[in-house]
């Protein structure tokens, strides 16, 4: 056994817990998951059935954990892990599954195929066969956390420039973007770049919120690698910052993966209770509107608009009502799209893949026939869906306008939606009620 295979099997053993073992044992091979998978719907091949993908790991697991399978692998279709099998598993987990969990939601047994894909990703990362770019990005993020001093001065200069823009947009000389403000209520964690800092800053200032900006970005590439060690190191930067500043909550920007990471995974990784809660920016926006902290123009966007749910916020995070509540308050003609599902982030890596193109074509057709001319994406992953669409210059008749709520710009960088929001004139509406979780209607929709 080579060192690579040894490391991969060691990672598999480390991953094994009750949920993973259940997923590895429980499949009834009914095939219902096939129709739930974007890949199978786009290209109906047996390799694109989630149960088939999972079976590739199951065969390795059987060989390692079942005496009969080890003695007579042909009888049980068990397979000894070797370099070829590991390369095949890596390709499946990183390039043929987006971990959108649509198969799990539609599985009668609730088999968590993405959990198995995560296990494979962890095996590949440990063995050194994971995509080099992801490893590099995760390591660079960890480096930023180890010593923020090497870029902090430049970061603060950029924030000072953004503050000038903020004051121009709001017309408020007192508007600001506080950084590392001790005792603030909210620690807002953006993605890198002004597009996720300036628009929320407009909203926070309009709502007179007691907030502060994180010096780190929300993205966590360790999650994509399923490498808990790296992911924990990346997340620790923000957890430590929140503890140091004594904030009451962390608000994560648009990124669905970052939200899922900090909302669901981080408490497990650190095995402790935190003095702060984690929310997505969309929850905060909905709350501000419901409580009257910001006043929005319901006719601010007169065009027809539809909304494309993101897998991590909607299916995995349960945030179904909040984005729709915000949209219904800022657009004149909001239309639901059925079915309404996302899960394209991993397509980013496979832009030239034929199947990925077909998935995007299917999604685009649905938007064309059911949605309005505008489409809203909630997550950064939605950016990938946006980029997959035909460019306007090539197929102008099919071009759509794709935007994310409150990040709409008019070409000058000015956030039109957010700029339309002004402080409420006193009084507050009813507090916004969170969704109550999954029900049959939700399952059908996403």
């Amino acid at each position: 056994m080579t060192e690579t295979i040894e490391l991969a099997l060691k990672a598999l053993e480390a991953q094994l817990n009750q949920p993973l073992e259940t997923a590895l044992e429980a499949c009834a091979r009914c095939g219902i998951c096939a129709e739930a998978c974007h890949y199978y719907r786009a290209e109906p091949r047996v390799e694109h059935i989630p149960a088939h993908r999972a079976e590739q790991l199951r065969s390795v697991y059987r060989y390692e954990h079942d005496f009969l399978s080890r003695m007579f692998p042909v009888w049980t279709r068990a397979e000894k892990l070797d370099e070829t099998t590991l390369a095949n598993l890596t390709e499946i987990a990183f390039s043929q599954c987006t971990l959108c969990r649509r198969c799990t939601v539609n599985c009668p047994l609730g088999v968590d195929t993405p959990l198995m894909m995560r296990a494979i990703r962890a095996m590949a990362t440990a063995a050194g066969t994971a995509p080099e770019i992801l490893v590099m990005l995760a390591d660079a993020a960890i480096e930023k956390g180890n010593d923020p001093s090497f870029y902090k001065e430049m970061f603060l200069e950029q924030i000072a420039d953004m503050e000038k823009q903020l004051r121009e947009i709001t017309g408020d000389e007192n508007a600001g973007i506080p950084v590392e403000k001790q005792g603030a209520k909210i620690l807002y964690v953006p993605l890198a770049g002004a597009h996720t800092i300036l628009p929320p800053a407009v909203v926070f200032n309009a709502a007179k919120e007691d907030w502060t900006l994180s010096i780190f970005e929300a993205s966590n590439y360790g999650v994509f690698l399923a490498d808990v060690n790296r992911a924990r190191q990346v997340a620790k930067r923000i957890v430590d910052e929140a503890n140091r500043l004594g904030v009451k909550e962390i608000v994560i920007s648009e990124c669905g993966h970052a939200y899922a990471c900090y909302r669901w995974d981080v408490p497990n990784w650190f095995a402790g209770r935190f003095d702060f809660k984690v929310r997505s920016l969309i929850e905060v926006l909905a709350e501000y509107i419901a409580e009257g902290k910001i006043k929005v123009d319901p006719t601010g966007i007169p065009e027809s608009v539809t909304y494309h749910d993101s897998c991590n916020l909607a299916r995995n995070g349960g945030l179904l009502e909040e984005p729709r509540y915000v949209l219904k308050n800022i657009v004149g003609d909001f239309r639901e799209m059925t079915p309404n599902k996302a899960g394209a982030l991993s397509l980013r890596r496979r832009r030239r893949d034929r199947c990925a193109r077909r998935i995007c074509r299917t999604k685009n057709r649905r938007r064309q026939t059911q949605g309005g001319p505008n489409q809203k994406h909630r997550c950064a992953g939605g950016r990938c869906c946006v980029r997959e669409l035909p460019p306007a210059d090539r197929r102008p008749e099919r071009a759509l306008q794709l935007e994310r709520p409150c990040y709409r710009t008019d070409g000058s960088g000015r956030p039109r939606d957010a700029a339309a929001q002004t402080p409420a004139r006193g009084g507050g509406g009813a507090s916004f009620r969170r969704g109550t979780g999954w029900n049959s209607k939700d399952l059908g929709r996403v």
Binding site: I142, Y151, M154, G193
Partner: protein
């Protein structure tokens, strides 16, 4: 080894993490000791590129804000 960049790249309009991804791909196209110069518009490069050079061991020769909107950086391949 030369002081002039072997490659000059334009990352204008690319958002994080694409400048880092592109420079990581480009670094393989030059020999050890050669330079790559790039221009980007995403302010995130001011933090991401130094972090990337630190984690990969390459040398950040220059990183500067040019005209308020673009950022120029020069990276030397070390290994």
């Amino acid at each position: 080894m030369s002081d002039s960049p072997k490659l000059t790249l334009d990352f204008k309009g690319l958002l994080c993490p694409m400048p880092v991804v592109k420079i990581a791909q480009a670094i393989k196209q030059v020999q050890v000791g050669e330079l790559i110069e790039a221009v980007a518009t995403d302010p995130g490069v001011m933090a991401d590129i130094p972090a990337w050079t630190r984690s990969t061991g390459h040398e950040l020769v220059a990183l500067e804000k040019q005209d308020g909107k673009t950022f120029r950086f020069v990276v030397k391949r070390v290994k």
